[in-house]
Symmetry: C2
Subunit: 496 residues, 2 copies
């Protein structure tokens, strides 16, 4: 045991095993756990909870920052431990249980869970489980690779379990900027006017008397598995970089652009990687998760500063970052997700937001979450926080997939997460559509021209033309045919 990591020495008698700590959970409780995009999650206590739930009736509501690593959601699902889960997940086993209706899932904007808890709009948190690098002398928690909702959970939970991860060096101290709006609902301003502003403390305050157990682990975060760029992601990144260059030429942006947000995944990585060989410089990120590409850009000198709520890296990059923490700490900050994703800051800073769509339609409505309008994939995550408030709201997806049996550009999306009002730019490997200032009929023409796969262009044009003739309207649609492409896919395995 590394008791040196407990600077509040009166807490040393709280040290226990994960199995003992998991005995604190009771059937029906609400648990708030750290973890955001597989980073800084509980590795031992939630695992022990799953094992306990295999043997006895123990169903909980589990709130986190975002997704968990180490198949924890799968283990909890298989053990029947999850009555309700929020606000995000990416686990295959859990996803299938949600889609069977066995686990209730609340798909929330990532900035809002903390709001809802502070405002008594959700049931109160019974126990918080928070991964820590160490505990300060006042009992406050120095988090690890994510902050997520941990500040809110620590403040509001009746009891707190801390999981000290000795795999994370204590030198991580200073990476975090812990700020919470005071005095809900009568709040003051959040005084951030640039991504690099630090406005809070370095550790998460917690009432020392609430700390019920301390558990030690030494397990590394699950590594991010990012597919390398392929022809399509390279094409998408190319369209976007040319668009940014054109905006600079027009005098709309400078070579420094504006703070960037990029969702998780290979397209975001391809776009950020594309900046390495560009003329852009002194870039900044104001995002929710930092991936390998962020640290590559920092190393290349193109990126000056990055703000987010978590760091999710491949195994190699993890080692590189942790061996050079001192170097990165001045140029990276991790914040609570209700700060990293807060609408007011995203608008104030003028963020350029790049997120991935599952499908979009000819009028610019975006589906980020549902397959066939019914089965959830992951969740809306922070895409809504950013898209609604960004200087530029950009969504990217491939034009077609599965041997072109599926078109990702459709007459009507089967589920709407981002409305036409909130979408500025759409990009596929085929091309880019700039929708700013366009009415719906103009949007349709531009999207069909620029973004749709050639094999679907004619039939999408036909849908639009017939809708204009037959029904007219501000947003011409034939409702009886709007989902015919989805229906064909379900019945025949192809949208063609």
């Amino acid at each position: 045991m590394s008791y040196g990591r407990i600077k509040a020495t009166q807490l040393i008698d709280k040290v226990t095993t994960a199995d003992e700590a998991a005995r604190l959970f009771e059937h029906g409780m609400v648990i708030g756990a750290s973890g955001f995009t597989k980073a800084g999650d509980s590795k031992a206590v939630l695992d022990a909870l799953a094992r306990r739930a295999e043997k006895e009736e123990l169903k909980i509501t589990l709130m986190t920052g975002a997704s968990l690593g180490h198949d924890t959601d799968a283990k909890l699902t298989r053990a029947g431990a999850l009555a309700k889960r929020m606000p995000f997940q990416v686990d295959r086993v859990l996803r299938e249980a949600i889609n069977r209706g066995e686990v209730l899932f609340v798909d929330q904007h990532l900035s809002e869970s903390a709001e809802l808890l502070h405002n008594n709009c959700l049931p109160p948190v019974d126990i918080a489980v928070i991964e820590a690098a160490f505990i300060e002398a006042d009992g406050s928690i120095v988090p690890t690779t994510s902050v997520g909702n941990s500040v809110t959970f620590a403040a509001l939970a009746k009891r707190v379990i801390i999981e000290i991860n000795t795999r994370v060096p204590e030198a991580i101290y200073g990476l975090h900027d812990i700020f919470q709006p005071d005095n809900y609902p009568h709040r003051n301003v959040i005084p951030i006017v640039a991504p690099e502003n630090r406005i809070g403390r370095r550790s998460i305050p917690v009432d020392i008397n609430k700390i019920a157990a301390i558990v030690f682990t030494d397990i590394q975060d699950s590594p991010a598995d990012i597919a390398p760029p392929d022809a399509k992601t390279i094409a998408i990144a190319g369209h976007l970089l040319r668009f940014f260059e054109d905006e600079v030429k027009k005098g709309h942006l400078t070579d420094r652009l504006l703070p960037l947000q990029a969702g998780i995944g290979k397209v975001a990585n391809a776009v950020l990687s594309g900046f390495k060989d560009s003329n852009f410089y002194d870039l900044r990120m104001f995002s929710e998760v930092l991936q390998d590409s962020t640290f590559d850009l920092l190393d290349s000198g193109k990126l000056s500063f990055a703000s987010a709520s978590s760091i999710t890296l491949s195994a190699d990059c993890y080692d590189r970052v942790f061996a050079n923490l001192q170097k990165y700490k001045d140029r990276v900050v991790l914040r609570p997700q209700n700060i990293s994703n807060t609408p007011g800051l995203i608008r104030r800073l003028g963020v350029i937001a790049i997120n991935t769509a599952i499908e979009f339609d000819i009028y610019g409505n975006v589906n980020s979450t549902h397959i066939g309008g019914t089965n959830i994939m992951n969740g809306i995550g922070g895409s809504g926080d950013f898209a609604r408030n960004a200087y530029l709201s950009i969504f990217v997806t491939q034009a077609a997939s599965k041997d072109n049996r599926i078109s990702h550009v459709l007459p009507m999306v089967s589920h709407v997460d981002h409305t036409e009002h909130d979408v500025d730019i759409l990009v596929t490997d085929i091309g880019l559509a700039d929708l700013r200032g366009l009415a719906p009929r103009e949007r349709a023409d531009r999207i069909i021209r620029n973004c749709v796969h050639p094999e679907y262009r004619e039939s999408l044009r036909s849908y639009f033309d017939r809708a204009c003739q037959l029904r007219g309207g501000h947003t011409p649609h034939m409702l009886e045919e709007a989902f015919s492409w989805h229906n064909r896919l379900r019945e025949n395995g192809s949208m063609k």
Copy 2:
């Protein structure tokens, strides 16, 4: 002429007729005009523009705050003067032209038009037309019954036409709080932490050299025509007031509630009127438009302060307010709409937002704009600005209409303006559904139980049950049947 209203005496030679001023417009120009919910709009110059366009080819893009009064949009439409219109309208003639595809309409969040202009995301404004009570010695404009986007138009337009309305007393000076974020896109905070905070100046700054013409009018704003409460609106208001009382009992809110936003129309008026005989007190509004009911509540002592971007009143109330301006000026403030509707402030202040839906679905998605997914009614207005960021996002509508041939609660909405992620409470005359913390299947059950008209309850339950059995999923839907209610209405004149 009341030249005394031009304190910048060097501008007196700019005084001209509306017809002369209208000669400044050229085919293809972008015009930014004052006016928000029929208040503070140009009465003479846009009218003269319509007359000119009847005789010659003169098509413009017209941006406003929101809707115009005096049938101006109808006149411009009939004259063929509108190539494109944004961000909102309520005119029948214009609406029909939009739905025929003859006028391009861009349906924007009301807080965003100013953002888009400042950020070069829309074509630049050629001429601003702004109604004024008077012109200050420095050329700055004291607006009348709305502020809208006038501050942005005045700042960015190449030339400015001022329409001095002598019907508005000069005593209106001091009603407005004119603040604009500085230095786009590198903005500072907007330092409002309570509805009553005044942070700006009393008049709209304008480069005096840009003032190209001054026109006098004495025409009053078009009066608001608000239908009196009926059984349904009274029922909706009753459900909402009981909900607020319950929230107070649970300790979630105090008797002072939180700042209220209410959309325009008879439901909003009924809810606000309901407060008069309630136990709530020291209420505040942080809204976009103030109607008669606001002034009734101020007079009754229940309401302490109201902040908005415009005042739209019935003829009687207009006279009462203007005869007592001094009394109201300490308790009412009008702001630019990119301040009244700004996402960060709405979240910071914890606004309770009450807006009207055209229809909503069993999962809580709301359609505020389109009939049958195709024809636009008015536009999204500020409902998205408020709903996305509010402490409580409430949408109201009647359960059924047209002899119950139309149900307003549906399997799937035909157009999405507000997603399930942004909707907390739904209310019809039948009842209220509190959706906070609920997964989609729980939402469906509660909405069907509480909100749907009894004549449709069984078939909506049947849709949901069959979707669960046949397709399952996080959000069970049968896409081939999702719009069957809309299709039946179109084909048979009834959803039954």
